[in-house]
């Protein structure tokens, strides 16, 4: 077990708890930076495209994680904010705005519009908020059709290539550049996210998640703080949507559908609610399942001559995994990892109920 000695308050404030942790994250950074080398070596960038897709999902997932995992507000409508970001980006680029401006701007406007949409429903709690955002997500496709002049409606819209000061980036023709671009955006958002969590803004979010009564008694304005969380969350989703558009190349009224909203929510639950890591673990699972199913099918067909062609197998498997997580691993994949690590750090003193969430005392006559 490592002991963290407090030499100054810097130990609490800095991004990494101790030297070893900084080294691990440094190695991870090197690994993700070097990943394209492998694909250059094998001369096939198909899988790199899949990895880039996971990163884009993780960006959207971080947006939702901030809202749901750290502020305690569920949303079943985050695909809507992705759609906003994507179409804003397309239109800004179409109007001749350079990408370096159009991209962040579409995220910010998506965030603002998202907050305006969310303000009336922010007073709702739990399941009601989930239902309101669900309704929003169900309407998104229709709005895309109605807004045909900007969205191309049912026929869809082609997403222009990225151009950064003359450098053209396209998912297919320059997969490596696209990967690094998405990676850069993801790392920036992780950095912003970490900063939030170690400063008053992030603490006011988690305070609301854990006890609204106490948060108010500490001077936190619920409506303003929730709106701020929604804004940041929708902005990240908008940025992810814009990148998703570049990755897909072509988007229609069916791209940002309800399934995508639900997938995002499932993703962060599987990954581990309340941890930034959770967004990435979840994105990896969501990214791997279709690939695994496809490979499994081919394997069964070629080796045993068994052909499985069940429609909806992916969703069913996904739902099954989710149910298993909620039943057996409510802290998600990241929680499982924490438990394994603690086990080895404390060996042989690990107690089975170490991570058990304690029942709170006497919540009977709470105010409200």
């Amino acid at each position: 077990m490592r002991f963290v000695f407090k030499t100054s308050y810097d130990a609490d404030i800095s991004l990494f708890k101790h030297r070893a942790q900084a080294v691990w994250y440094g190695l991870l950074l090197l690994l993700v930076l070097a990943t394209p080398l492998y694909f250059v070596a094998i001369g096939d960038a198909y899988l790199l495209g899949e990895i880039t897709g996971m990163l884009i999902l993780a960006i959207a997932g971080m947006g939702l994680m901030l809202l749901t995992g750290h502020t305690g507000l569920p949303s079943l409508g985050h695909a809507t904010f992705m759609a906003l970001g994507c179409y804003l980006n397309i239109n800004l680029l179409g109007a001749g705005v350079p990408w370096v401006i159009a991209f962040p701007l579409s995220g910010l406007i998506a965030g603002l519009l998202g907050t305006m949409i969310a303000l009336p429903v922010l007073r709702l709690h739990g399941v009601y908020l989930a239902l309101a955002t669900l309704a929003m997500s169900m309407l998104t496709g229709d709005f895309v059709v109605i807004a045909e002049p900007w969205t191309g409606g049912i026929a869809g819209a082609a997403v222009p290539d990225i151009n950064i000061f003359g450098m053209e980036i396209n998912r297919y023709s320059t997969p490596y550049k696209f990967y690094y671009l998405v990676l850069f955006v993801a790392i920036m958002i992780v950095w912003f996210y970490r900063n939030l969590l170690r400063t008053p803004t992030g603490r006011s979010f988690t305070a609301i998640r854990d006890s609204e009564i106490s948060a108010r008694a500490m001077g936190i304005n619920l409506t303003q703080t929730k709106a701020l969380s929604f804004f940041l969350s929708a902005t990240a989703a908008g940025l992810a949507g814009a990148l998703f558009g570049h990755s897909a190349g072509y988007v229609t009224n069916e791209t940002f559908d309800l399934v995508m909203s639900i997938t995002l929510l499932l993703m962060i639950v599987i990954g581990g609610l309340g941890f930034i890591h959770g967004a990435f673990f979840g994105a990896i699972v969501v990214g791997i399942i279709p690939v695994a199913i496809a490979n499994g099918r081919t394997f069964l067909a070629t080796t045993f001559d068994v052909n499985i062609n069940v429609p909806g197998l992916e969703s069913a498997l996904f739902a099954f995994i989710l149910v298993c997580f909620i039943l057996f691993e409510p802290m998600g994949l990241y929680g499982r990892w924490l438990k394994i690590r603690t086990y080895f750090e404390l060996f042989p003193f690990y107690r089975k109920d170490m991570f058990k969430r304690q029942k709170s005392y006497l919540k009977t006559d709470r105010i409200q």
């Binding site: 900063n195 008053p200 008694a217 001077g219 304005n221 005392y361």
Partner: protein
Amino acid sequence: MSLLEITDVTLRFGGLVAVDNVSLKVEEGEVFALVGPNGAGKSTIFNLISRFYDPAEGSIRFDGHDLLKNSADQVPGFGIARTFQNIELFEQATVLQNLLVGRHRHRQTGMLSNIVFSPKAYREELRHRAAVEEVIEFLNLQHYRDKMIGGLPYGVRKVVELGRALASEPKLLLLDEPASGLSVEETQDMAFWIEDIQKQMGISVMMVEHDMGLVSAVSGRVMALSDGKELATGTAAEVQSHPAVIEAYLGTGEISKTGTSRA
């Protein structure tokens, strides 16, 4: 002018008059105790001061401000901090993080400077940590500093909640049953802390407490309530021997002159 002035306040829950035309004053630097049988309306008075409830009638003034013109989240800004009868901590956070939320009313940086962790935000963090570290030392919480609330024993949670309130550096501290559920030794500690809070930190304290031993030990003036109405106000001994108070407690066995028994 008193620090806190509650004048003719009435609050009804449907047909039930939870607080019935109550007036009281808390002076700067005093420990003021509210006692009374269960359901007397003590916690409700705290919730009125916190602005969780709107009184039907009356006024509540604090330090020259009309609290009724402000919302619940503005109350701490005037220098009022509180604990809850049933402990309302941020369960999925550490002790340190809980205390840091207590610093919220002193925050000086906004979201933008937080998100890029500007030098100003960094300096502000250092100040908050220093202030919180003092509270941790005062309440002897070093051992629990980085522990999650979820796994802490009841007695420690009570202390953490007191710490979170202290971290906000209030002028008035509202303690709702600070000793309920505590062992004899823990209650003793609580009494010492309340004395230090009043004498050394110069913070006024208003507390609700059933333990008359603690009440007599630390408070200057005591008000007894029953069914939302004031029965008597005076020193602990005066209140305990007041006929109306004895009558209100008759058969409940909650109050005693020796000050050892409690509900």
